[in-house]
């Protein structure tokens, strides 16, 4: 299949899904109180995006997400490198980290509320907590993906330690680190929005929860649409950068 026809087929599938969404309530097969048609949801989403209150919610969520990433990604990367460089430390810590990784982070949410209150930093802290492990483990994998032969080659040309870090380690690790960043965005969005839905005074998650509780289906679906599209756009942007350096993971 050529690229063009592949793209056409995908667009067709998307159009079919949206068409089904539109048709089911319009034809009366599904109660439009429960599933409003796509066009109505889309219009509602556009209207919501005009409202200052919603802007405030999106900004709050965005800031919490940004803060969580700014704290958790560099910390996770540094800890991951530390772990990869210290065999002993890795042997001691890694099983425990894997255990912790398999525990659902959501069960700790009440603890964050009890210790930090219902606040901006409680969301940020929970976001960091949910994200840092995946970043740490990816960074460890990134260091281990650096090939010993490449380091040896650079050394044979007289590279200093700093030069090896900059010209061998960094480019070797970059694709894996970008993937870690992408996963970090997904994990921390989930965590921040969940924390908002659970208990919050603002944020798009809190809005979505309250629309759901008051059975405002149009708004609820519009909120889902807005968050989904934003998440997809961010994710695809990082993937686009990843693909641009795809030839270096041969």
């Amino acid at each position: 299949m050529s690229r063009a026809s592949m793209l056409a087929a995908r667009l067709l599938l998307l159009a079919l899904a949206l068409g089904l969404w539109e048709a089911l309530p319009r034809l009366g097969w599904v109660d439009d109180e429960i599933l409003p048609p796509f066009s109505a949801v889309f219009v509602t989403a556009l209207q919501l995006l005009q409202r200052p209150a919603i802007h405030g919610d999106l900004v709050t969520t965005g800031l919490q997400l940004g803060a969580a990433l700014i704290i958790s990604v560099p910390t996770g990367v540094l800890l991951g490198i530390l772990l990869a460089e210290n065999k002993r430390l890795a042997q001691v810590c890694e099983p425990l980290l894997y255990f912790l990784f398999s525990v659902p982070k959501s069960i700790f949410l009440p603890l964050f509320i009890l210790t930090l209150g219902i606040s901006f930093w409680q969301k940020v802290a929970f976001g960091c907590f949910s994200t840092i492990l995946i970043v740490l483990m990816s960074a460890t994998a990134a260091v281990r993906s650096v090939r010993e032969e490449h380091v040896l080659t650079a050394r044979s040309y007289g590279a200093t330690r700093a030069q090896i870090t900059r010209h061998v380690y960094l480019p070797s690790m970059l694709p894996v680190l970008l993937e870690a960043l992408r996963l970090a965005v997904i994990f921390s969005t989930t965590a921040v929005v969940l924390a908002e839905m659970y208990a919050s005074r603002s944020g798009i998650g809190q809005q979505i929860a309250s629309w759901g509780e008051s059975f405002m289906m149009r708004q609820l679906f519009a909120g889902v649409l807005i968050v989904s599209v934003t998440a997809i756009v961010i994710n695809e942007f990082i993937r686009w950068i990843e693909n641009r350096c795809s030839h270096w993971r041969s």
């Binding site: 040896l152 030069q163 350096c245």
Partner: protein, 270 residues
């Protein structure tokens, strides 16, 4: 070519000297003797091949000559000075798997050693593209390693080894991963490049034909511990041709190496 040969004869001087080299390594508290009593001299401009079974320490010896590994005993002099650390001014290294950096294009791979030296970008690219021309890849500079065949990768790697114009080129089984045909072509190419640059080459291989075809002198090693058990002057004329491989001299030399490797001289426990 003929002139180059006679020039070499006139200005004969040792480029590499290995004196009383031995190496013992420890693994789980047990000391193992990897190399013993290695002494060799390579005259400037000569092509020396080290051949031996796997595990005889031939690659380790080469890494020591490159300053990438430290021996426990003895001295290695390159161009009259001890080789304690890697020194790209004296030695270029070509590894078995080409070891190109996949995130750099062919030309940037070749220019990599110059970048470490802090040369400006345009000078780097000028010199790198001249080297790519020399190895017959002038057209492929923009390609990435994943877009090159095995033979092309190894050519890029040779260009990288030569880009700083070191007097010595050390090659660690550079063609081992290539198919037979490519291997033959690369051997021819290497001899052409060598005759144009008059480098001192030390080439490690486990292929007997490759050894005889390429070398001025073949050093045969045995394993456990690794030591040099024979030195063979290859008197075949240059330029070497494919047809020489069918001659009696070629066959005799290859047999002599094979006998040494299969059953080392009496007195040498193997």
């Amino acid at each position: 070519m003929k002139q180059a040969l006679s020039e070499r004869a006139v200005t004969e001087r040792p480029m590499i000297e290995v004196i009383g080299l031995g190496h013992t390594y420890e693994s789980r508290g047990v000391a193992s003797r990897a190399l013993e009593d290695i002494a060799l001299t390579v005259q400037a401009g000569r092509f020396t091949v080290i051949v031996g079974p796997s595990g005889c320490g031939k690659s380790s010896l080469l890494m020591m000559m490159a300053g990438l590994r430290r021996q426990t005993e003895g001295t290695i002099l390159v161009d009259g000075r001890p080789m304690l650390d890697p020194d790209p001014d004296r030695v270029g290294v070509v590894f078995q798997d080409a070891n190109l950096f996949p995130w750099l294009s062919a030309i940037d791979n070749v220019a990599f050693p110059l970048m470490l030296r802090g040369l400006g970008r345009s000078e780097r690219l000028d010199r790198a593209s001249a080297m790519l021309e020399l190895v017959g890849l002038g057209h492929a500079g923009a390609r990435y390693p994943s877009e090159l065949s095995g033979g092309m990768k190894q050519r890029v790697s040779i260009a990288r080894g030569l880009v700083q114009d070191p007097p010595v080129l050390l090659m660690d089984e550079p063609f081992a991963a290539l198919d037979e045909q490519t291997r033959m072509t690369m051997g021819e190419e290497l001899l052409r490049i060598w005759s144009q640059t008059s480098k001192t080459v030390v080439f490690v291989t486990h292929s007997l034909s490759e050894a005889v075809y390429l070398a001025d002198e073949v050093l045969v090693m045995s394993a456990h511990p690794g030591r040099i058990i024979d030195r063979i002057e290859v008197e075949l004329p240059r330029p070497r041709t494919y047809e020489m491989m069918a001659t009696a001299t070629f066959g005799q030399l290859r047999d002599r190496i094979w006998r040494q490797i299969r059953s080392p001289q009496p007195g040498n426990p193997a």
